[in-house]
């Protein structure tokens, strides 16, 4: 009887090839001959997102975890250890489904709540709870896999640090590039105290701010003094939010509650035009932007025309981010234009 795999001539009646071990009598055996197939979406997904490329990296990571935590790995398994990046996942992987789901549900609820109220004290508390849930999930894994206090302390600290550095640090960094929350501290139209706005820090990576954009910027640090009944000093520093009104080299006129740039009427105004004098003529030097700080004036301070010129001319590089969304309170949620 010839082996179909290696062509070795076997004795009649034998079930397995004496040379290669292949089965010789397959006709009576129930074997599926139709291969499993990939779904359309699976193929598309793999074509667009070549995850396979990172297998080598995962292999190295696995080897590193094995080398660093031989006791833990022996106790709870490498698979569970690698899944500590998601709260509840190691527990589910290890068979404690209810416990794992509880961790995950708690984490998801607090994280979503935290994101919903981001920038507010409640949001801070909820995000803190989410982190605590994740930490608890990690500690649960470590406590299950170790039996002495020093190991527990060392492994807990190491894994918390690892997850902090590998997961939370990059995620926080990436999210705050495009959604940096800023809290408004005082009532200044159009904002109210307690409002949270979101800023995009990468909006002006490729070029300066556009005229009409509402931006977060650093005005020049200035100090003004007034002699009234007493000598008053007005300090002008710190981040402000207002609209870019003109670019360098343009002449700006404010009259009849309307902005004119190089004699042309513009559709936008500063965010709080009520604080501006009825008539104002300004010139923007080259390389600067005109942003009148109408939402960030010290209380009881009314600048003169010359002071508006000083306050409003901002170097183009002082623009920090574009303000695009009023995120809190949810009742006033709106796109800022």
């Amino acid at each position: 009887m010839q082996c179909p795999s290696c062509q070795f001539q076997n004795m009649p009646g034998v079930a397995v090839c004496g040379q290669c071990g292949s089965r010789l009598q397959l006709s009576g055996v129930a074997i599926a001959v139709h291969p499993p197939r990939a779904g359309r979406w699976e193929k598309r997904f793999h074509r667009w997102l070549p995850i396979g490329r990172y297998h080598a990296l995962f292999d190295q990571l696995r080897a590193a975890v094995s080398a660093a935590t031989p006791d833990l790995e022996a106790e709870i398994g490498r698979g569970a250890l690698l899944r500590i990046v998601v709260p509840g996942w190691p527990q589910i992987f290890a068979g404690q489904t209810a416990r794992g789901r509880l961790f995950f549900a708690l984490y998801l609820a607090t994280l979503l709540g935290g994101l919903l109220f981001a920038g507010t004290p409640v949001g801070g508390i909820l995000l803190g709870l989410a982190l605590a849930t994740h930490a608890s999930s990690i500690l649960d894994v470590v406590y299950r896999g170790t039996h002495d206090t020093p190991s527990r302390i060392v492994y807990s600290a190491a894994f918390l640090l690892l997850v902090g550095i590998a997961v939370y640090l990059p995620v926080t960094w990436a999210v705050t590039r495009v959604a940096l929350p800023r809290r408004i501290l005082q009532d200044v139209p159009p904002f109210a105290a307690g409002d949270v706005v979101l800023c995009n820090q990468i909006a002006y990576r490729s070029g300066p701010a556009d005229v009409g954009d509402v931006v977060l910027y650093l005005p020049p640090q200035l100090r003004f003094q007034r002699l009234e009944r007493y000598m008053a000093y007005y300090q002008f520093a710190g981040e402000r939010i207002d609209r870019v009104l003109a670019r360098g080299g343009q002449r700006v006129e404010w009259r009849q509650r309307r902005l004119w740039v190089d004699g042309v009427p513009m559709p936008w105004t500063p965010l709080n035009p009520d604080v501006l004098p009825p008539q104002l003529n300004l010139t923007v030097p080259a390389g600067s932007l005109l942003i009148l700080p109408t939402t960030g004036l010290p209380q009881n301070f009314s600048p003169t025309a010359a002071e508006w010129q000083q306050l409003g001319v901002v170097p183009a590089g002082s623009v920090l981010a574009r303000v695009y969304l009023r995120y809190q309170p949810l009742s006033r949620f709106w796109i800022i234009r």
């Binding site: 795999s5 290669c20 292949s22 055996v29 291969p35």
Partner: protein, 263 residues
């Protein structure tokens, strides 16, 4: 539902292929193997896979059919399934060089190069005179950006003078975004089988990727002359004529450029 994914009646046969007609001759395993090989030579991998399965339904001991299924799955970019299926086949025929090489190729496409090397070494030990094993070896060299890929592919061609070997080498190069090297192999396949449409089509693909639009157009036309039902060739010809522009295609091409592992 996932369990129904394995069933085949939901899948439509490839458009440019004639639906399998009832043959007057006896439909034994050999007949289905022949059908599968014929479809494979026409680049109709879905049909070929189906015919290999039919052949196996009649005779499960046909190792070339198991290997054919694995290779078709790889051509159809179903690498995970190919790896799984090669594992199943290796349980029946442990140590078979072709099946080991098939598994190595699947791993290689999934970028698990170390495992692929181990399996390929095993396959070479088992059968150093298999063209397919050398083809997989060459692909591993390409994936690892090693310069000796040419020698492996040349060995494969020396061991098997069939035009399908250089053609599949060309497809390997194309898969790794190396149209210049693919072009040389595709041309060899065309020289060996100028009366077959699929080599013309693959040559057209290489020429199109090299921005040799006029030559690509010519290759696609030759392909369509030999097989007027080749929808892919028609589509590429339309693309070259500028009738078929889509932002998705542009984006895909850009991403393909970024993903390019070896040039």
């Amino acid at each position: 539902m996932p369990r129904f994914d394995k069933l085949e009646f939901g899948r439509e046969p490839e458009k440019d292929s004639p639906s399998p007609k009832p043959a007057s001759r006896r439909r034994d395993a050999d007949y289905w193997v022949q059908q599968a090989d014929e479809n494979r030579r026409d680049g109709l991998y879905e049909n070929a896979l189906r015919f290999y399965s039919r052949a196996l339904e009649m005779d499960k001991s046909l190792v070339p059919c198991w290997l054919g299924q694995i290779r078709m799955l790889i051509h159809l970019e179903e690498y995970r399934q190919a790896e799984l299926w090669s594992r199943t086949a290796l349980e029946l025929f442990p140590g078979n060089a072709g099946l080991l090489a098939g598994r190595a190729q699947a791993f290689c496409r999934m970028k698990q190069i170390r495992r692929a090397h181990e399996l390929c070494d095993g396959a070479l030990q088992q059968d150093p005179k298999s063209a397919y094993v050398w083809l997989v070896r060459g692909e591993l060299m390409v994936a690892g950006r090693q310069e000796i890929d040419r020698h492996c592919f040349d060995s494969a061609q020396q061991l098997d003078s069939d035009w399908l070997v250089p053609l599949e080498i060309a497809l390997v190069y194309l898969d790794y975004h190396n149209p210049a090297k693919a072009m040389a192999r595709a041309r060899r396949a065309v020289d060996s089988a100028p009366d077959r449409h699929y080599p013309w089509y693959v040559q057209g693909l290489c020429q199109q990727q090299l921005s040799l639009d006029a030559q690509a157009r010519e290759s696609y036309r030759n392909c369509l002359n030999l097989n007027p039902r080749n929808a892919d060739a028609e589509r590429h010809l339309a693309e070259l004529a500028g009738q078929h522009w889509s932002p998705l295609a542009v984006l895909r091409r850009l991403l393909a450029g970024f993903r390019s592992p070896a040039q």
